[in-house]
Symmetry: C2
Subunit: 427 residues, 2 copies
């Protein structure tokens, strides 16, 4: 398959170039050429996309979600955290079968593709069904079986190990697996050490919730007399490449530890705000050279998977925290949406529109959309005024997965009907 | 003109009712019937809308914007406030002709209609051109000529008075005019008193920026040894019905003053966050019974006019401020988007879907839209997951202004072209 995308208004390559009136050629799953004139040779392509009035970007990377939680969207809002979890979320989650999770994931995949996400990180259960849905959809994903010691124990470790082995590199290489201990307060030091050992042996990474709430930091302080970050350092978890989700309640010393071990931070501002968890010190993390990217968290606390909206919240939240409108700029946000996500997930050959890189990219149509006028700065209009649904075309691994808003790999209507059917049985 | 809207999945009437499988009949510009069964008599209507899978709501009310500032969208982001205003915004604004403002307003009208706003409040200059654009568009608006003493002086007062007289009640009653002193720090006590007197004589209201920034409160403290709110009370401005925009830096005493004088507060969270102005105490205002509604501010500091996004920011910002996810619930947000806006603008017979009320309403299509699945709570999905662009149909003053996303009163493409043409001359 050889694809030409021509007449692209602006290509943000993410290696410090903006190409105007550009073109991209894709051969098989890789970018074979990127240039800046209008390409004339129209004869040798299986597919030509005319991208006039469009922006091309690497696809968005969602570095933290629980995709099947789409099933819980709107089920429990505006409640105190404890009541929300114990009386609503956990009881419903306990009823989720593998089949339900499969369809909930498919609903999330529809939403992610429509809003321009090409790679996402997931931590949940029944992960083999999530992997199946990902494989069918054409999406790229980094998947981890969530582990809560009390619920999952040694049996969970075995299952997680098996899932990690079985699915790593599957779906033409689009699936990467990592280990997923849930959090510092739900896994003992021994359990975390076992998980880190499995990860090291399998040569995979780890993702874990870290310092999401004040309560968590108090629990760890009481038990181990240190911060959650320090605790994880002490038990050598960070010897394994780690993605730490949230990092809301962290100290300057914690930031230094995250930097020293090259821990990637997944910032989830909308979830942190909606649940009243707090404001992560993204300004300090960024200044200290820690890799930060964006995540949506699950939609029971967000309640959508639109990464552009997430970026806008990330920006405005840091500005108001600092009473300073210059803390985060558009370029920083674009990096957090794309290349920084690839970096913290430690994926290779992705996140840049450049010869030899894997073709995961999106096209945004600016035409006839009021938020793209006037055209002082298309990137500003994209990040500060547009929405994920303005993404028109999604290419993953060199394949056109969505074209002009139509997803080719998933049957949307069937998914909506299935989800409604599931909910009528569940609630 | 007699319109039947039938098969409506849910009608949020805003007088404490949710009608399922409902219908609405509109005769001329008023709602003549609202009910809860499927209406069968299809013979006597000029127009029948089948609203299956749709939500009906009163239209959104944007209580503070400067609509022609669409022309500045994306022109100056991520800058310190002073530099932003003095080096970018003001120099460009000084070049805006009446004709440019007319087209900038039209661009804003396209965006507002597409995102479900049926009434907006504006403060700017060349207001007669803004009024002309509003009249043509079918929109409802509360318009004020902005007055900065140093720039506008006595001549400005005359012009503003004339505009207020000429346009009040025009466009079949869709235009209401009020007086628009810019702010406490740009108008002297004498000037503000003159404006209040004109407003009282013309029997119209006032809108003014109040306590937007910390700097403003310091200026007023130094000059008059009190807060901006107290200052306005002292000079009896609040004897005139007032809409106070922003109210970020206010004390408990200020809140009591706002309550005592029934001052309406226009909360603009996205602008306050993006400019780093601060977090308005909406929780305290609401608890103390002050009327609060939402506004977008101009798009040079937002950068869009989507009221659903504004409501989401309002909610999540108060939750994170309080470290408490129960501070604002969906019902409160829906009120702030609709009926509370009507109340603070002191408009009559609007904001409720009820027999005898003026027909300003919107329909949101939930079908084939992933964020509306599953259907645990359609209102939650609308406020926490959807976007203004999910509004399908807009009816204002009994007329169908937008149907299935198509605006009938404005030529979108012509507006986009005109705006690009203007910018090419301006910048």
């Amino acid at each position: 398959m050889k694809i030409l995308i021509k007449n692209i208004a602006e290509i943000y390559t993410m290696d410090n170039k903006v190409i105007k009136d550009g073109y991209i050629i894709i051969e098989n799953n890789k970018i074979s050429e990127v240039g800046s004139y209008i390409y004339e040779d129209n004869n040798n392509y299986d597919k030509i996309i005319d991208a006039q009035d469009m922006i091309a970007l690497p696809g968005f990377v969602n570095t933290h979600t629980h995709s099947a939680m789409t099933l819980l969207r709107g089920y429990a809002d505006d409640l105190p955290l404890d009541k929300w979890l114990k009386e609503k979320i956990w009881p419903l989650e306990s009823k989720l079968t593998a089949e339900y999770i499969y369809w909930g994931t498919k609903l999330a995949l529809v939403e992610m593709l429509k809003t321009g996400t090409t790679t996402f990180t997931d931590m949940y259960f029944q992960m083999h069904k999530i992997a199946e849905a990902v494989a069918e959809s054409g999406m790229r994903a980094v998947l981890s079986q969530g582990l809560i010691e009390e619920n999952d124990g040694q049996d969970g470790l075995k299952k997680a190990k098996q899932f990690t082995e079985n699915w790593n590199g599957e779906a033409e290489g689009r699936i990467t697996t990592i280990m997923g201990p849930h959090a510092t307060y739900t896994c003992s030091p021994d359990y975390l050490e076992e998980i880190a050992e499995i990860a090291a042996n399998l040569n995979v990474g780890i993702t874990i919730h870290v310092a999401e709430t004040k309560k968590e930091t108090e629990i760890i302080k009481n038990k181990y007399n240190c911060s959650p970050v320090k605790y994880l350092e002490k038990i050598n978890l960070f010897d394994v490449p780690t993605i730490a989700a949230h990092c809301v309640h962290i100290s300057k010393e914690d930031i230094q530890i995250l930097k020293n071990y090259n821990v990637g931070v997944s910032h989830n501002p909308m979830s942190n705000m909606k649940l009243g968890s707090g404001i992560a010190p993204i300004d300090d993390l960024w200044e200290n050279g820690v890799n930060v990217a964006l995540g949506t968290d699950g939609v029971s606390s967000n309640n959508n998977l639109d990464m552009i909206e997430e970026a806008r919240f990330a920006s405005y939240l840091q500005q108001v925290k600092n009473n300073n409108p210059t803390v985060m700029d558009i370029e920083t946000l674009l990096k957090m949406l794309t290349i920084k996500g690839i970096e913290i997930l430690q994926l290779n050959n992705l996140g840049i529109i450049k010869e030899g890189f894997i073709a995961d990219l999106i096209l945004i149509n600016m035409k006839n959309n009021p938020v793209f006028y006037p055209q002082h700065n298309n990137l500003s209009n994209l990040i500060y005024a547009a929405k994920g649904y303005d993404v028109s075309t999604v290419i993953i691994d060199g394949k056109i997965i969505m074209e002009e808003g139509l997803i080719k790999t998933l049957d949307e209507k069937k998914i909506y009907n299935k989800v409604n059917e599931i909910i009528s049985k569940l609630v």
